[in-house]
Symmetry: C2
Subunit: 130 residues, 2 copies
DNA sequence: GCGTTAGATTGACATTCGTTGAACTACTGA
DNA sequence: TCAGTAGTTCAACGAATGTCAATCTAACGC
């Protein structure tokens, strides 16, 4: 049980709740999200929202900015990207190319590398060209 | 709270436990993992292992094969990949391109997740120039 | 058959999680 | 200064989670 594993699982755990996943998705749309918006869009009370945003903050997923008496949250996308990198090590393969297009579509299991960490990983990694 | 969100959070929740994340990582190395191996490598009792593998199965992350009186688990990488796709929608951007190159640059700020130190993934982690 | 082994299920327990009302803090505007 | 507002923190609660000993089931070897 490595130290890095603890960090990754903390982020996973933070994402593993419908309400928090909802919050993260809303934040991905706007550059910054007011707390009041969450109160309007989420079916839970104010303390509960505070509780969830705290967990997201502790996991490093969001950043809090206080302006006057209003709070604004923003998504730390680099944390999501690091997590994706780590997942990619476990399941390497070609990935989405464009966001508006249909993607690669052929998620169809081209022979996956036996070991996620093989020495020739670079060959398949070179396939990632977005 | 869409249905697809529920599915995603279920997978996240499954990954959000150190022991289960450890199991998934072990599975990523081998093509198929014997249950007995887990008993040797994990610091928990047999029922607990059974409990965790069940959760991973329900989340769709692993597949179970029974041969004789032995059980073999294998990682369903496509589930991991669709999860990455979904995360990529929230944090799009260039990704890992080559192993010896310096990555994409905007990822090179600082370790957002705690670095893997001294475990078996450290070598491959060097691929990620975060 | 019969004992053994691999692993799942069950039941019980302690811990953690998610939720809320109430109280609190900090800022606003008059 | 003082009432009102935004959001947090606190205390408490029920629900879910993680763990293990005991039990069960199915396959094995003899």
């Amino acid at each position: 049980m490595t130290r890095e594993a603890v960090a990754a699982t903390e982020v996973f755990k933070a994402l593993g709740d419908p309400i928090r996943w909802n919050i993260v998705q809303q934040m991905a749309q706007q550059e910054e999200l007011a707390c009041s918006v969450l109160e309007d869009t989420l079916p839970v009370s104010k303390p509960t929202i505070s509780y969830h945003t705290k967990i997201l903050t502790q996991a490093g997923l969001i950043e809090v900015r206080k302006r006057g008496r209003n709070y604004f949250y923003s998504l730390r996308r680099e944390v999501l990207r690091s997590l994706m990198d780590e997942m990619w090590l476990l399941a390497p393969g070609p990935r989405l190319v464009s966001s508006d297009g249909e993607g690669t579509g052929d998620r169809a299991e081209r022979p996956v590398l036996k070991a996620a960490v093989g020495d020739d990983t670079s060959r398949s990694a070179a396939l990632l060209t977005w």
